[in-house]
Structures are given as C-alpha cells and as structure tokens.
Amino acid sequence: MNARAIDDIARAEQGTSLWKDAWLRLRKNHLAVFGLVILALFVIIALLTPWIAPYSYQAQDLELGASGPSAAHWLGTDIFGRDLMTQIMYGGRISLAVGFVATAVALLIGVTWGAIAGYVGGRTDAVMMRLVDILYALPFMIFIVLLTVVFGRNMLLLFLAIGAVEWLTMARIMRGQVQSLRQQEFVEAAISLGLSPATLIRRHLVPNALGPIIVYTTLTIPNVMLLEAFLSFLGLGIQPPQTSWGLLISYGAETMEEYPWLLIFPGVALTLTLFSLNFLGDGLRDALDVRGAKD
C-alpha cells in the first residue's frame, strides 16, 4: 500500500476536507477565479434581466430595422428593430439554463453509468455499454420529432432530449477511466479494507477520474447551447419571440456580411462563457488533483 492510498483512505474518513482543500487551492488560481467571476456575473445578469433590460424584448420598430451600435442601442438592433443587448440578455437566461441543466443531466447519468459499468465489469459492463452503442446508432432526429409530437413543446423535454444524447460519450470516457483506475493498487487496497462499492466509487474512483470528466463537461456546455438551436429548428425548444444565444448566432450567421454585429455580439457572449468555463474547469481539475497537490 503506498502513501497515496493511505492518504486517500484517511481523507475518505474525514469526508468534506477534499472539497475544502480544493476550494482553498482554487482561490489561488487567478484565471479560475476570473472564470468564476464572469460566470457568476452572467448568472446574476440573467436572473435580473426582466428588471434591468434596457428595452422590451418583444417591441419591434420595423422602420428602424437592423442598425449598428449607437447611443440608444449599444449593441445595435436586429432586423425587427429590437434592441440586441436586450435579446442577448434574455437569450442568456435560456442558454445558461439549458447549458447547465442539460449538462448536469448528462453528467449525472453518464458518470454513474460509466462508473458502474467500468467498476463492475464483465457481463453487466457488456450489456450497459452495448446499450450505449444502440443509443448512439438510433436516428436522433426522428426521435426528437416524435418527442415534440407526443409531448408538445416544453423546456423539461428539451433538457431531457439533450441530456439523453450528451451522456453517451460521458459514459464511455468515465468507464475508460474507472477501468484503468480499478487496476491500481490503492483501489485494490481500499477493497481489501472492506469499503463498499458505492463508497469506493464515490470517494475514490469518481474524484480520481475527474480530470477528463471536467474537461469534457466544460466542452459540453457550449455544445449543448448550440444543440438547443438545432432542436428549436426541429420544433423542440423555444419559440419566438423568446430567444437564445444559439438561435441569435444562427440567425446572425445568415447575414454575417450585411449585419455583422448580429453575429459578433452573441458570439462574444458565448465565447466568454466558454473561456470562463474552461478556466474554471482547469482550475477545478488542478485543485482536485490529489497527486498534483503533493508536489
């Protein structure tokens, strides 16, 4: 039994100290803190939007039409003469909600599924992973169309639909990690000490596999935001005059030569979110890295 395993077991007994340590380490990482601040800011803006938005998100001014940034409209207006800043603020509410909730759904299912498959192995693993193969292969579009027809349009369905596709790769990555960790001495040691599988998975396997999972998660969030736009196209998701960053970007892309601001500003919002997420994700990964901490 090496030092790390003993350390881990000791930590398992103390429970929360892993996260406390991580938080202390995270606070020292400037980029991660920057990411956290930006994200927090976006979330706060999103929550307060109905009170602080400069214009109504519905009101149109067809005569004005699409106009570039000006004193009255800092980020310009769209083809209906609606204030783009207001659109981005309202869009952020939807995109952030979809991004975080759907990813959380995917994360929960994917990590659990992958961890169990990887840990238990054998026939259970085979059945679970072949199920993943099946879900990969089914025609997703038809599935979505059916969902909209059977259940109508609602946000919950949107989260589920996105979660349902995004967890698959998550499960594969998690399984691969767990499988390789499973063979390591400290895990075998923990088993021989009589830790229950659930505790083992939760306390040792998941934290140790967190690196790639966190990275994949931070990549998934922006992807989910864009996927939402595609689902809206199929009739799931949100309806005008509601909007989201994904929709604003896809509308903006159509007229990128004529009205570039309609693409640039929503694009900047999404990019900023992504960068913040990645800084935060890397920070988290480093902070939670048991081995790195010993350097």
Binding site: R130, Y136, A137, L274
Partner: protein, 310 residues
C-alpha cells in the same frame, strides 16, 4: 485478445438487431409519411403508392420482409428517389463522407494532438494558453459559422479556393476538411492536455524523470500512450459522429455525402433510406467503438496485461 474481439463482434449482432427494430417502428410512428407533399395527394393515389412500396401490408409482415431482404444484403428501394436503391445511394455517398471524415480526422488529430501535448508540457505558460485559447475558439465556432467564414475569406475575398464541391475543382476538399476537423481538434486538444497532465504527474513518470532520461523520451516513450487514452475513448464515437455530423459541412459546401443523405432521409420520411443509413451507421459505430476500446486497452499497460492473459 482475439477472444475479446470475437465476443464483441458477437455482441454486435443483438445491438444491430435492436437498432433495426426500434428504428423500423420509430419511423413509422413519426408523423407525416413519405408520400405527403405540399399539394394534397388524393386518397386513391396515396393507396396506390403505398401498395407499390408494400406499405399496405400489416406492420409485422413488412418488418419480416425487411429483415429477409436485409439478410440478403438488400436495403430496398428509396421512396424519395424512385429508381434508386438504398444500397446504391449509400455506395455513392459513403466514400465521399468517409474521405471527408478521414481528412477531418487528420486535421483534428494533427492540430489538436499537437496543441494538447505542447500545452501539457509547460502548463500555465504561454505555450499552454495560446494553443488552448485557439482550441476553445474552435469549439465556439460551430461548423455552420466556421464554414461560411472560411468560404468568405479564402473563397471570395482572397479567391484562393473553391467555395463548394467535392473533387470537381482542385483544392475543393481543403475548406470542408478543415471546417469539419476544427471542432474535433479542439476536443482532442483539451482531452489530450488533461490526459497528459494526469500521466505526467504519475509516479512512474516522475521516476523516469528523476533517473535523468531525456525529456522527449519521457514524453514520447512513456507518457504519450497513457496520456492519450481519453482521446482514444473519444475517437470511436467521434469518428462515427463525424460521419453522421458531416451533414452541416456537406450542406454548406454542397458535397454529395452520406451525412446529407441521412438527414434528408429523415426529413423526407424515406423509411428505407433512414433504416438503411441507420443500419450502416450502427455497424460503423460498433466497429469504431470496438477499435477505440482495443486501442485504449493497448495503450493502457495494465489492461494490456489482462488481454495478454487470454
């Protein structure tokens, strides 16, 4: 090892059967049939059409007939394109998409792998931040955005490369390959960096370094294999996803590939075409996931030992 492959291939049979069955019924419950069009089709005409394609038979009978044809390698006639068989459409579209996917994968691995490994060697320095920031921009740029931007820049303003086509004009394969590959490059860079950092902090690497082995040897001989495991786990589904997901790129660049056929078939409710492409794709997915599992096992010394035992 061979046993492992054999078992997995055997497992593939029920997987594909389930996919076929679910898809077969899924497409038939989906609203709108293959022969609905903007101008109403009289009932008699619709009945005649359905009779031509045996859609008037009881569902179970259709299903049995389909499986029977499939066992003989016949995927049936396309509903949308009278006179074309699904086999023929797949045979026409797949090579194009496979070629596109391959180039895109090369772009992704080349750029993404390089960036990820470079970044992991000097974490939290400029050598880390610059390639990683570029990678993140790559993720942010969905292909429906990157494609048109590249076309505008290289196709129209600079007039260096063709704006569309595949194999028609020299150079017309470059922009689509980059567009499709960029998003994956970003993933590979991020996953590669994380995986490498994980490995570089392991005891055996530290031992190797302490022994004074040259840095490049530590990286290439000892770390790369383990560090790229998450990348490899991602590659299996990614390649299959590349094939299905090439739809957007194929539409932007007007490329006659399978991705476009696949999505169009779903829009057209071209039952046999949806089923045919799905079956084809599921075979690919099973194969690529298997391939990526084998690769991952080979790269992971502990799992490799396990395989050796069989």
């Amino acid at each position: 090892m061979w046993r492992f492959i054999g078992v997995r291939l055997l497992q593939a049979i029920p997987v594909i059967l389930v996919v076929i069955t679910v898809t077969f019924f899924l497409v038939r419950i989906a609203p709108g049939g293959p022969f609905d069009s903007e101008k109403a089709v009289p009932r008699e005409v619709k009945a005649a059409l359905e009779a031509q394609y045996k859609l008037n038979l009881p569902l179970f009978q259709q299903y049995a007939a389909y499986l029977d044809d499939l066992a003989h390698g016949d995927l049936g006639p396309s509903f949308k394109y009278p006179g074309r068989s699904v086999n023929e459409l797949i045979a026409a579209g797949f090579p194009v998409t496979a070629e596109l996917g391959l180039y895109a994968l090369l772009v992704a691995l080349g750029i993404g792998g390089l960036a990820g490994v470079c970044a992991s060697l000097k974490p939290n320095t400029a050598q880390d931040y610059i390639p990683m920031s570029l990678a993140m921009i790559g993720i942010c740029m969905p292909s429906f955005l990157l494609g048109p931007l590249l076309v505008l820049l290289f196709g129209i303003y600079l007039d260096w490369l063709p704006v569309s086509g595949w194999g028609d004009i020299p150079g017309d394969k470059i922009l689509p390959s980059i567009t499709l590959g960029a998003g994956y490059a970003a993933y590979i860079a991020r996953l590669g960096r994380a995986g490498m950092l994980e490995v570089l902090s392991q005891d055996y690497i530290r031992t190797a370094r302490a022994k004074g082995l040259p840095r490049w040897q530590v990286v290439f001989k000892h770390s790369l294999r383990g560090g790229l495991i998450p990348v490899v786990a991602f590659l299996g589904p990614a390649f299959a996803g590349l094939l299905a997901g090439s739809f957007v790129v194929e539409t932007i660049f007007q490329i006659p590939g399978l991705g476009r056929f696949y999505v169009q078939a779903a829009f057209n409710r071209d039952y046999t075409m949806i089923l045919g492409t799905t079956v084809f794709l599921s075979v690919l997915i099973v194969l690529f996931n298997l391939l990526s599992d084998i690769l991952a096992a080979w790269m992971n010394p502990r799992l490799r030992a396990q395989f050796g035992g069989h």
